[in-house]
């Protein structure tokens, strides 16, 4: 039972990370390869603010979110917008990877190479529910992920901004002749993605330790979850994240610890081979789906 909660909690954070990748992918069709680094920066800056400036948790995360928003907007401006039409070239692969490496190296210099113990929310307090001991932090991980996921869907489905995001995702040029500045919308998506990355980084750091290596140890799971759920599918991101969390949880019970990630990624590869569009692309879920318009 405890293991399931832990798996769900980790899975919720993977889901948030996948959501952040999906937000950018859906409007630009590009994969933000710097995303792992952005998650790591969220964790490291909030760690710094917590432990060196002795801020409270809330303020520290809020500031980390702001820093990540600015960072992500800079990444967009420098590594993506300058490239022009993204359907015409693939330079973004290099520029985004480059941006990630710059962030990783900077973090290594600023924060050192030593992994830091990141404090749990509520001092790691444990409560007992039906005889199972559950850390409040883990419940918060799930709760925060659910709140962000629901909020995001409401914004996307019900607001002017959300309508524009969907329009840009579907037909960027048509969106532009509606008067929508597609670049602005994409910039906003990078900002949102950065904010979500900061929160997910800060919430997972107590479990993984805060270190500049989070880019790979944690970041890679963001991509795995995004791919399992279907790239750019922001609902699928949750399915992908939770599945990954559960796969990991089960794997760690039956194989030696060192193999856990290998098993998770093996399963990711299988899912991608069998269902290239992610789990939600399975026939079961696509009944009555709308195809394109009539010409």
């Amino acid at each position: 039972m405890q293991e399931i909660v832990t798996a769900l909690a980790n899975g919720s954070i993977y889901a948030l990370m996948a959501l952040a990748i999906g937000i950018i992918y859906s409007t630009t069709q590009i994969i933000n390869f710097a995303h792992g680094s952005v998650i790591m920066i969220g964790a490291m800056t909030s760690y710094w603010l917590l432990s060196i400036f002795h801020m409270n948790y809330f303020t520290a995360i809020l500031l980390a979110v702001l820093i990540n928003i600015i960072l992500s907007m800079v990444i967009y401006k420098v590594s993506v917008e300058k490239l022009g039409d993204l359907t015409q070239n693939s330079s973004w692969i290099v520029t985004l990877f480059g941006a990630g490496i710059i962030l990783d190296n900077t973090a290594r210099i600023l924060f050192g190479t030593e992994p830091k113990a990141y404090p749990f929310l509520f001092d790691g307090h444990v409560i007992s529910i039906f005889g199972t001991k559950i850390m409040i932090h883990e419940m918060m991980m799930i709760l925060v992920a659910v709140i962000i996921g629901v909020l995001y869907q409401i914004v996307i489905q019900k607001t002017n901004f959300g309508r524009a995001v969907r329009a840009v995702s579907f037909r960027p040029d048509t969106a532009r002749i509606m008067g929508i500045r597609s670049n602005r919308i994409v910039l906003m998506c990078f900002a949102i993605s950065g904010a979500v990355a900061a929160i997910s980084g800060a919430l997972i750091a107590p479990i993984t330790f805060a270190s500049y290596t989070m880019t790979y140890s944690v970041g890679i799971k963001a991509f795995a979850a995004a791919l399992i759920g279907g790239l750019g599918n922001t609902k699928g991101a949750f399915i992908g994240g939770i599945s990954l969390g559960l796969i990991e949880g089960i794997a760690s019970m039956i194989v030696p610890g060192g193999l856990k990630d290998a098993i998770s990624f093996l399963i990711m590869i299988i899912v991608i081979i069998v269902l290239p569009g992610g789990i939600l692309s399975a026939k079961l879920f696509t009944k009555g789906e709308l195809k394109t318009e009539k010409i």
């Binding site: 969106a175 002749i177 008067g179 318009e293």
Partner: protein, 235 residues
């Protein structure tokens, strides 16, 4: 209202529109006729700012706009109804119309325009909660036009509005354009269906592989069978 002067447009190194000039006066309905690949869409997309001309000047309401962004042009009263309608199939009809009013922040204005749009297109009101992709071709064209009218443009530009529609629906679309025009909107139209378009046009230009080869009053061009055959193939 719109002056296009010595404009040359291309994609990469290939030039597809060569040094063309034409103009649209306030209140007119102007048609540009041309066969497939003549460069009609290229010209319209350049006017509305989706594409940049290599050379030449485009002026709208006496301002140079060849470097303007699409959103700035929408703000200034220019609207394009693109080729193939390009409605958003997974947005509802209502959402499609609201997207048309994206730059309008005044809720009252949006509301009253919505009201007049639904008066003009009762079919769209009946189907406002349906997905755009479920509409028939004719309804989609109406939606594309309705969406463009949400900012009350002074110049409405349409790229082959008759494309893929049954003759009777084409008739409806052109009647609608005539009606929109008489409500004070200037109309620039691009078509292959010469006959119906010329009937409602004040003037027309004939485009052949990126060059304007003929210009005249709508009636003149329509009645001149030789010209029509020579430049338009089948009419």
């Amino acid at each position: 209202m719109l002056q296009v002067e010595n404009v040359t447009i291309g994609y990469g190194k290939t030039e597809v529109v060569h040094n063309i000039s034409f103009h649209v006066k306030k209140g007119e309905i102007i048609t540009i006729l041309g066969a497939n690949g003549a460069g009609k869409s290229t010209i319209l997309n350049t006017i509305v700012g989706l594409h940049q001309a290599k050379e030449g000047s485009i002026r709208f309401q006496d301002k140079e706009i060849s470097k303007a962004r699409p959103d700035q042009l929408v703000q200034n009263g220019m609207r394009l109804v693109p080729e193939g309608r390009q409605i958003f199939p997974q947005h509802t009809v209502m959402e499609n119309i609201l997207l048309g009013a994206y730059i309008e922040k005044n809720a009252k204005k949006i509301h009253s325009r919505l009201h007049s749009i639904f008066e003009r297109f009762p079919r769209l009101e009946e189907r406002k909660n349906q997905m755009g992709g479920t509409l028939s071709g004719g309804e989609q064209q109406m939606l594309a036009i309705a969406r463009a009218l949400m900012t009350e443009p002074s110049l409405l530009i349409l790229d082959e509005p008759s494309l893929g529609l049954a003759p009777i629906i084409v008739g409806e679309v052109f009647a609608l354009l005539k009606q929109i025009s008489s409500s004070g909107v200037t109309v620039l139209l691009v078509e292959q269906m010469a006959n119906s378009a010329l009937k409602i046009s004040d003037r027309a230009y004939v485009l052949e592989t990126g060059r304007i080869v003929l210009e005249g009053r709508g009636e003149e061009i329509r009645n001149n069978a030789d010209i029509a055959k020579a430049y338009l193939g089948n009419v």
